[in-house]
């Protein structure tokens, strides 16, 4: 394990990934300091103006909104749209800072739960084999036969709008890869003599899976999971972009991009006039996914004995 950590830090590309990830973690932790919330729900992106048109970076909160906060007796701790505002006056910078938390939540929770489900189903299926394997793997096949994005979109639409619904949809259609992966690894690992030796000592099946097989096989799943944290965030962003994800005004990168939908080209005669609406959220998503992929790539290089040159 120490060796793995050391290699992660000595490899240039993974170091870039780690630094990026570290910055995102800092942003997520310090979000209340960097972008102090103006309402009770910190995930609600504040509006800097009522104007439909996006406002350029450096825009100060319009007077009529200031009046509302004054009227409600809220202290305005934050009134400058550093990255400009999106459609409807939503502050982009605020959305990005708090959206980092959303991104981590979506990525980590969906991957962790989907990974657990996948590992559970895959390991049971591989270890016991026979009709259990047949049934579980056919169920996996059925789930695999749905196109991921469309299935997640339909399910989110059915369940209703909201980030939790997005995560449920992503989990329900995201566990199959792990199930297949761990099944393959366990199928080959269970033929090892140490499994037979454990059985010959009277060790229970569940314990053999948990203590003997999973520690030998979980690494492939860890690599896969690291890589898919990024893609889960992208898919969630895509759902938000398509309007079935986070509720309106929720701090979510996908939502910020979706606010930019009508403004990407710019006004006639002013191409790219509203570049900030799409650039800032876009760069956050790209860097976040890149960070995870770089780490995942290096992790695979370290943990795969074939690439390590030991086999």
């Amino acid at each position: 394990m120490n060796r793995t950590v050391r290699k992660l830090f000595s490899n240039a590309s993974s170091l870039v990934g780690i630094v990026l990830l570290f910055i995102f973690i800092i942003i997520a932790i310090l979000a209340p300091v960097i972008a102090p919330p103006l309402s009770d729900d910190p995930y609600q992106v504040p509006r800097m103006s009522w104007d439909v048109n996006p406002q350029p970076p450096g825009f100060l909160m319009s007077d009529n909104i200031r009046e509302i906060y004054d009227f409600m007796g809220t202290e305005i701790k934050y009134d400058k749209a550093i990255c400009g505002t999106a459609e409807g006056g939503y502050d982009i910078f605020y959305g990005l800072m708090w959206g980092t938390r959303t991104a981590f939540r979506i990525g980590l929770i969906t991957v962790a739960v989907a990974g657990l489900i996948g590992v559970f189903i895959g390991s049971i299926s591989a270890y016991f084999g026979g009709w259990i394997d047949e049934i579980l793997m056919r169920i996996t096949d059925i789930f695999l036969s749905f196109p991921f994005l469309i299935a997640a979109m339909v399910l989110t639409t059915v369940l209703g709008r909201g980030l939790d619904k997005v995560m449920i949809a992503l989990i329900i259609f995201g566990w199959m890869g792990y199930a297949r992966l761990i099944r393959g690894s366990i199928l080959s690992a269970k033929e090892e003599t140490y499994v037979m030796a454990a059985k010959a000592l009277g060790v229970k099946d569940i314990r053999i899976i948990w203590k003997h097989l999973l520690p030998n096989t979980i690494f492939t799943v860890l690599v896969q999971a690291t890589m898919s944290i990024g893609s889960m965030v992208i898919t969630a962003a895509a759902l938000s972009f398509l309007g079935v994800g986070a509720p309106l005004g929720y701090a979510d990168w996908g939502q910020m991009v979706s606010f930019a939908r009508n403004w990407i080209i710019g006004a006639p005669g002013h191409a790219g006039q509203y570049w900030y609406t799409v650039f800032y959220p876009g760069i956050f998503i790209v860097l976040f996914v890149l960070a995870w992929n770089l780490i995942g790539d290096t992790l695979r290089d370290i943990l795969d004995p074939r690439l390590r040159g030991e086999l």
Binding site: M196, A197, K199, A200, L201, G202, R207
Partner: protein, 339 residues
């Protein structure tokens, strides 16, 4: 049960284990009978694929799909193991009957410490705490002759040599003081010098417990070293069954005779080493009649038509052959190594 003043530990009666493969039914073990008495060592000898390992796995009830025990009885301590359910069987495995495997390299889990693997069985069968189990593991490691057991107990299998790993396997198998130990070619993967040490260790540990041993091997040298009685297996069946002396001095089956004459000898001036011609028949297409007949130099038409039964030629000596008298003549020529 007591037979011949010896306490009976295990009785295998007409055991039949078949593998239901896509190409057809492979009769890996087809009607095997033998018994093991307390404190004695039974040697199960045969070429690769003759069914000796499958017999061992059948006794442990550790056969995987598509293998299945289709008939017979395995009587252990007066009870038929084949009627036991999984939970009852698990209590017997490791505690009453233990097993040692051929490959010490792969029989230890690479990601778990030696101590963990030894204490696992102890914790399960004796319901003791982890600390006690580790303490007992250290004692066991000391008992099997591993230096610095306190340190070794926290090490992983890759840090040990082959002989040490086999010692750890023995410690694991002996951890719960089993009544019966099944050793499936425990010395095959080891150096000759280490082999002798491992055999000595197993013998002394078992003597201390008055436990029984089933030694599965293709190595007649190992058998000569350790066994009291020997069952020679060929093509899923026992072809000769007698005590060690009888097998080595007066074998009555042509296969046993062939095995013994194919041991290289330095004391005789022989131009060529005797070998048994041919190979073990494919279990999907066994020859008709006696399964050894295509390779047997004494084979007659009767051998090709009718399979001989396992018959008693004298007390405690069973042979499956029609031409015992021809083998006797050959043995008298005195080409055997002897014990």
């Amino acid at each position: 049960m007591i037979i011949n003043n010896k306490k009976f530990v295990l009785g295998v009666k007409d055991l039949k284990t078949y593998f239901f493969t896509e190409d057809g039914v492979v009769k890996a073990v087809d009607g095997v009978d033998f018994e093991v008495y307390q404190g004695e060592t039974l040697g199960l000898v045969g070429e690769s694929g003759c069914g000796k390992s499958v017999t061992a796995f059948s006794i442990m009830r550790l056969l995987d799909y598509p293998g299945k025990i289709v008939g017979g009885e395995i009587i252990f301590k007066g009870e038929n193991l084949l009627t036991k359910n999984d939970a009852e069987m698990r209590k017997i495995r490791g505690k009453e009957i233990a097993m040692i495997f051929q490959e010490p390299m792969t029989a230890l889990n690479p990601v778990l410490t030696v101590g963990f693997q030894i204490s696992e069985a102890l914790m399960m069968h004796f319901k003791i705490s982890k600390e006690e189990a580790i303490k007992k593991s250290v004692e066991l490691l000391k008992k099997v002759g591993i230096p610095m057991p306190e340190q070794r107990v926290d090490e992983y299998s890759y840090q040990l040599s082959g002989g040490m790993r086999q010692r750890v396997m023995i410690a694991m198998a002996m951890s719960c003081d089993p009544v019966l130990l099944i050793a499936d070619e425990p010395t095959t993967a080891l150096d000759v010098t280490i082999q002798a040490q491992i055999l000595d260790l197993m013998r002394s540990l078992l003597r201390g417990l008055n436990g029984s041993l089933i030694m599965i091997t293709h190595d007649l040298g190992v058998i000569a070293e350790i066994a009291d009685r020997i069952a020679v297996m060929y093509a899923s069946k026992i072809v000769e069954y007698a005590d060690k002396k009888t097998i080595f001095y007066t074998p009555l089956h042509p296969y046993t005779f062939g095995l013994l004459t194919s041991i290289p000898r330095l004391d005789l001036d022989l131009k060529r080493l005797d070998v048994i011609p041919g190979i073990v028949p494919n279990p999907l297409h066994f020859p008709s009649g006696c399964k050894f007949n295509p390779r047997c130099r004494f084979a007659t038409n009767k051998c090709r038509e009718e399979e001989p039964p396992l018959t008693k030629v004298e007390e405690g000596h069973l042979v499956r052959c029609w031409n015992v008298d021809k083998v006797v003549k050959e043995v008298k020529k005195g080409l055997l190594v002897g014990v």
